[in-house]
């Protein structure tokens, strides 16, 4: 594989950049693979990469219905954080933060990881107490957390509404300085390029239409481009999980919902951090191009449409304007939507299933992007070793049966309000 470096950049400049190698190939599916990963999104690509890199399993195919990186990894708001209270989520995400920090070097691809810090605003004394508790839990797990008072928040984000007579005054906030953002497409492309170079077949425009299961064991998959035999199959299909589960006669604790995001026109640098509104659900950061990247609530009803509806967008942006009034002056550039695999406790599932050789990776709700490296790493381990790693042991499928839920927000099973 051609290494991306300043020397190669200069060298290729002499030939007008027309002679770069393709970043990944377009192979015809083989008859049989050791492992087939369904879903060429961030998690699927990362899983294939870590299967090859950490477990030396390279006879692997990624089967993607559309094109790689065309789903949620290309539709998110690029926020990376590990500010969780529960041990399972905190330790898993912090492991991922380490992978993020070295990802650009590891993949030889600039993913533009920018640890600019995230601030969750608090709007009451009770919320400050809750944040103090969450911050302490984070620090016990080795995650950086700083509780900020009103004056400290004002110093960092003076453009927020600090006037006296607002409905939700800013009391302070919880900051994770090491959190940040990354270039989401580069994450997908970087993993794809490396996985391809190690022998993984990336097969696009290939839809899975069925599974070949006999005597409780998976033997392969049926696709729009023919049957493919496989010793092991991993599902990494986010919002399409229920559709494939139905073909396997499985009913999962997952509902598919629609989440929108939007960006404003680009403006000069104004916001250095990721900031979330604490009295509702709104988050904002500024991209390197200057656009304000914003998002918030789900549309609130089951949906497989990758496009949203205006009432929710209006509701979310009303919160944004309450938090930072200057946003009302900006023109909207783009809005888009993605479909989320909302689990019943808000936490993901990375586990084996009752079918031998079939592995499940789903339930990311809207926190899937930041989990990309840790999800791929632990899912690769689970597939290669046929047992869960301690990092994803809590993300079991049967926790809903045994009552070991990981309900970070305490919202219960109303997935559409979480």
């Amino acid at each position: 594989m051609q290494k991306y470096s300043i020397f190669n950049l200069v060298k290729n400049a002499f030939s007008n950049h027309e002679n770069w190698d393709l970043a990944w190939k377009d192979p015809t599916p083989k008859e049989e693979y050791d492992v087939v990963i369904i879903g060429g999104g961030g998690h699927g690509l990362a899983t294939a990469y870590y299967l090859a890199k950490e477990h030396n399993i390279t006879n692997v195919a990624i089967i993607e219905k559309g094109w790689i990186g065309g789903g949620n990894v290309g539709r998110n708001t690029t926020i990376i954080r590990s500010n969780y209270m529960h041990d399972e989520n905190g330790l898993f995400s912090e492991f991922g933060m380490d992978l993020w920090r070295k990802m650009s070097q590891d993949l030889n691809y600039n993913v533009m990881f920018s640890p600019r810090g995230i601030i969750n605003l608090a709007h009451s004394d009770a919320q400050m107490n809750a944040y103090a508790r969450r911050g302490n839990s984070m620090r016990l797990n080795g995650i950086d957390a700083v509780l900020l008072n009103r004056e400290q928040v004002k110093e960092i984000i003076p453009m927020a509404d600090f006037s006296e007579n607002v409905r939700f005054p800013i009391f302070g906030g919880l900051m994770q300085p090491s959190a940040g953002t990354a270039r989401h497409d580069a994450v997908a492309w970087g993993y794809a390029r490396q996985a391809d170079s190690m022998g993984v077949d990336i097969i696009q425009n290939c839809e899975v239409i069925g599974f070949d299961v006999s005597a409780g064991k998976i033997n392969g998959i049926r696709t729009s481009r023919g049957n493919i035999k496989a010793k092991k199959v991993g599902l990494c299909v986010a919002g399409s999980t229920n559709i494939l589960a139905e073909k396997l006669n499985m009913t999962l604790p997952i509902e598919t919902h629609l989440l929108q995001a939007c960006v404003s026109e680009p403006i000069k640098p104004v916001l250095d951090n990721v900031v979330t509104f604490g009295a509702g659900h709104f988050y904002v950061s500024q991209s390197d191009k200057g656009e304000m990247v914003m998002g918030g609530d789900l549309d609130g009803y089951n949906s497989y449409a990758q496009r949203g509806n205006l009432p929710t967008l209006q509701h979310v942006l009303t919160e944004g304007i309450a938090m930072m009034p200057f946003l009302s002056k900006l023109k909207m550039l783009r809005t888009w939507g993605g479909i989320m695999d909302m689990s019943m406790d808000g936490s993901p599932i990375i586990d084996k299933t009752h079918i031998d050789g079939l592995y499940l990776n789903c339930g990311w709700c809207y926190g899937g992007f930041k989990a990309t490296p840790a999800s791929g790493w632990t899912f690769a381990h689970t597939i290669a070793q046929d047992r869960v790693h301690e990092l994803n042991a809590g993300y079991s499928l049967n926790r809903f049966n045994t009552g070991h839920l990981i309900d970070e927000k305490g919202l219960g099973t109303k997935t559409w309000i979480s």
Partner: protein, 89 residues
């Protein structure tokens, strides 16, 4: 904007309603032994169909009644609406 035909009030905008999830889920009968698996299916497991989906909505800013709505989860088209206690054929 979705428009939902409330069987009690007529056509209203989605802003007047709140969502209540899959309407095909049935609480287990309590006059017999209920297995963990049955509780699991009632509380957590969902088909989350792509296509026609029967779901509960509440006309929260209207008559406050719960209703059933048959809606397509891929196109958002609404086909039929029912009163909460109406049987859906």
């Amino acid at each position: 904007m979705l428009y939902i035909n409330c069987p009690h009030c007529g056509m209203r905008s989605q802003n007047e309603f709140s969502y209540g999830g899959d309407a095909s889920v049935k609480r287990p009968e309590l006059n017999k032994e209920v297995s963990d698996q049955e509780w699991d299916n009632f509380v957590y497991n969902r088909k989350s169909l792509r296509g026609k989906h029967l779901e509960l909505w509440q006309h929260i800013s209207g008559c406050r009644q719960w209703i059933k709505v048959e809606r397509d989860t891929a196109t958002h088209e609404i086909f039929r609406t029912f009163k909460a206690d109406e049987e859906v054929a």
